[in-house]
């Protein structure tokens, strides 16, 4: 089938640009990590870009995405500003979370990027709760919940899929099966290696998609998202993919063969899309060059922004632990006099405020 039948050149170029942006961003992250500008754990997404971009491009801006710790690329795909992502990795005050979150805990409420979480499968129950919000408020929002193949073995996976199915919630569970959880191959961790097949235990559809093909992912998720939005309940998607780098920066990668890596690297989703577009004459070759240049500039700007940004001031340490209550400040310290923000008028999360009218109107 011709791409032109389904996509405009602009759409494709946009997907290409997003994937490339993530790739170049991540390569810079590796460099900055080695230089000591970024610390802690850093789990690169290189090789898996087609999944994040395929998923995000199939979602509406008001749809939620929630995920694990390998999430720099997913955050960018969902629309987060690479500057703020990079600043967060640098631990700077201008980062998405003011430097408090770091690589594993990116978050952007406005973009409905509901967080990177560092406990394997920990985000899955949360996704059910976000789905419940949509269902409760009768919105047509969907929740894309991303997780790794390793998460499938956690109890939280089971409890989440069961409850989402039982309550018919609009959640798209997307397993990025990159064949390994750290050094453990899927077949050594999961009895039923066909992950999409786990849907059988929850009475929901389970589909496999090619996670190295951004269009395949985009199409699978777009189609499913329509059904989910229609109230047909959750689905499980397995995107077959591969991380080109180690689990984290420290991984010596002894558990994979160079042959296996080679096979997958030949399927790199970024040149693959470029080639497809060129083949069908959908982009001029200088458009690709221009894209690379603009991406490199964007990443360089992100680095510059991160480098120049201030570190969080000392007094930030004890801030944001709590939302102040009548007699308690955000550090958890108690005060004798009621504070200006009283319980009744406590600030609410943006989205709750925004939707309040709606909700009240409906009930």
């Amino acid at each position: 089938m011709k791409l032109t039948a389904q996509y405009t050149g602009t759409q494709l170029l946009q997907m290409y640009r997003q994937m490339l942006l993530i790739r170049v961003f991540e390569e810079k992250v590796a460099e900055m990590y080695t230089k000591g500008h970024i610390s802690g754990f850093s789990h690169l997404y290189i090789g898996q870009e087609a999944v994040a971009v395929g998923v995000a491009s199939a979602l509406a801006g008001t749809d939620y995405m929630i995920t694990a710790y390998r999430e720099h690329g997913q955050a960018i795909a969902k629309g987060c500003d690479p500057k703020e992502v990079m600043a967060e990795l640098f631990g700077k005050a201008t980062g998405l979370c003011g430097g408090k979150g770091g690589s594993m805990h990116l978050f952007d409420l406005e973009k409905r990027f509901m967080g990177g979480f560092a406990i394997v499968a920990g985000q899955m129950p949360l996704a059910v709760g976000l789905g419940l919000c949509a269902s409760y408020r009768e919105e047509d929002t969907v929740v894309a919940c991303l997780f790794g193949d390793g998460a499938v073995n956690e109890g939280a996976f089971h409890e989440s899929l069961n409850l989402a199915s039982l309550w018919n919630l609009p959640v798209i569970f997307i397993c990025e099966n990159n064949l390994y959880g750290m050094g453990t191959a899927v077949h050594r961790a999961t009895a039923l290696t066909h992950i999409a097949g786990h849907a059988c235990a929850y009475g929901i559809p389970g589909l496999q998609t090619d996670g190295m093909d951004v269009l395949a992912v985009h199409e699978t998720v777009s189609r499913l998202a329509r059904n989910v939005r229609d109230g047909q309940g959750p689905v499980l998607v397995e995107a077959l993919t591969y991380r080109f780098r180690g689990h984290s920066m420290a991984d010596p990668l002894k558990y994979r063969t160079p042959q296996e890596e080679e096979i997958w690297k030949r399927r790199d989703p970024i040149p693959a899309l470029a080639e497809m577009m060129s083949r069908e004459g959908l982009v001029r070759s200088d458009a690709l060059t221009e894209t690379r240049q603009s991406v490199e500039q964007e990443v360089a700007a992100a680095i510059a922004f991160a480098e120049e940004s201030p570190v969080p001031p000392e007094q930030q340490l004890m801030q944001d632990i709590y939302v102040p209550t009548q007699f308690m400040d955000s550090t958890g310290a108690l005060h004798h006099q009621p504070m200006s923000i009283s319980v009744d008028h406590a600030p609410e999360p943006e989205q709750a405020l925004a939707r309040r009218g709606e909700t009240e109107g409906r009930e």
Binding site: I66, L96, C97, G98, G99, K100, G101, H105, F107, D108, L109, G115, F117, I119, G122, M124, P125, L126, A127, V128, G129, L130, G131, L132, C133, A134, Y136, G155, A156, E159, S160, N162, L163, L166, Q319, D320, I321, Y322, V323, T325, Q326, F327, M328, G332, A333, L334, P338, V343, D344, A346, E348, P349, Q351, A352, R355, R356, T359, E360, R362, E363
Partner: protein
């Protein structure tokens, strides 16, 4: 003021808050159709319907997590764990998610979830069903821990908790559901972080909460007959601690006994004691005493269980040795 049982005071709080705010909903095991295993949610399903009163599977991790996610999305979940023992299955969601989400995301989101659950021992339910975990929850920044001991506070604190923007562990007590007391109607809000001086006295301060508060109160009554005047503080909020009230009382009576039904080692009582020592050391006439449960998994046998738990006589004994 009408008299209500503790469970009915909680029920009233839920009903009032659900009426006031369409975002408030209830979820948990057997809370809807079965009306709660301790009947706290009685009548709510028929009043508010299955959308807002939701039975869940027996799956504590997703009960906790879905409630947290719903709170992140702007709803006001009140999730029930049938008993505190089952929070052990949801610890990761409570401690590593609910308590940390706001901070680690730089204050860009709040998690207004209330986890209700009964604690309590003394009903011969055996080791796996007779635990008090408040000392754990208080060792976890990001959580607020409430533990009302009277029907009025049960209502007033639960209403406040539901309106609060923070993740809250709301510890009820299975031994208290039946106790009765006067409960203010409608807008009765008890602030978080305020202990209650439930009985004034001069010779010794008894600090306690939840079911143990009633032991302390009983002890104070009996001590009064021996002309020992005990002040009794009901903490109500366990985290953060109202040290101001505690200190004031300690500085007045110069003697402190802390009563808790949780295990002795690592009991929150030690924290309270240390904070008193750190701030009003010179005011104390005697070392602070702790009256707690013994360090043992709870035995089933009635007699052994009674020995494992603190009794009124133990409180009285501790006071007598001090004054």
């Amino acid at each position: 003021m009408p008299e209500l049982a503790y469970r009915d005071a909680l029920n009233q709080a839920l009903r009032e808050e659900m009426t006031r705010d369409g975002r408030v909903f209830i979820m948990g095991e057997d809370v809807a159709f079965y009306e709660g295993s301790y009947k706290v949610t009685r009548g709510l399903l028929s009043e508010f319907g299955p959308k807002r009163v939701r039975d869940t599977p027996i799956a504590e991790e997703v009960i906790a997590g879905a409630a947290i996610g719903a709170a992140m999305g702007g709803l006001r979940p009140v999730a029930e764990f049938m008993t505190v023992n089952f929070t052990l299955l949801a610890m990761d969601q409570i401690v590593n998610h609910a308590a940390k989400i706001r901070y680690m995301f730089g204050g860009n989101i709040s998690v207004p979830v209330v986890f209700r659950t009964p604690q309590g021992s003394g009903k011969q339910l055996g080791a796996q069903h007779s635990q008090q975990l408040e000392s754990w929850f208080c060792h976890c920044p990001g959580l607020i821990v409430l533990a009302p001991s009277t029907p009025a506070d049960a209502k007033g604190l639960l209403k406040t908790a539901i309106r609060d923007e923070n993740p809250i562990l709301f510890l009820e007590n299975q031994n208290l559901y039946g106790i009765k007391g006067e409960v203010p109607e409608n807008e009765h809000l008890v602030p978080i972080g305020q202990a209650n001086v439930a009985r004034e006295g001069n010779d010794v301060t008894l600090i306690s909460y939840s079911n143990a508060f009633h032991l302390a109160l009983k002890a104070a009554e009996e001590l009064a007959e021996e002309s020992i005047s005990a002040e009794v503080i009901d903490l109500r909020t366990l985290h953060p601690l109202d040290m101001e009230t505690i200190r004031r009382s300690a500085a007045k009576t110069h003697r402190v006994v802390i009563v808790s039904e949780a295990w002795r080692t690592g009991n929150l009582a030690a924290e309270i004691a240390m904070r008193i020592v750190e701030s009003v050391f010179d005011e104390l006439d005697a070392p602070i005493r702790r009256v707690t449960a013994k360090d043992v998994p709870m035995p089933y046998s009635r007699d052994l269980e009674a020995l494992a738990l603190p009794q009124v006589a133990d409180v009285i004994g501790a006071v007598r040795e001090m004054v």
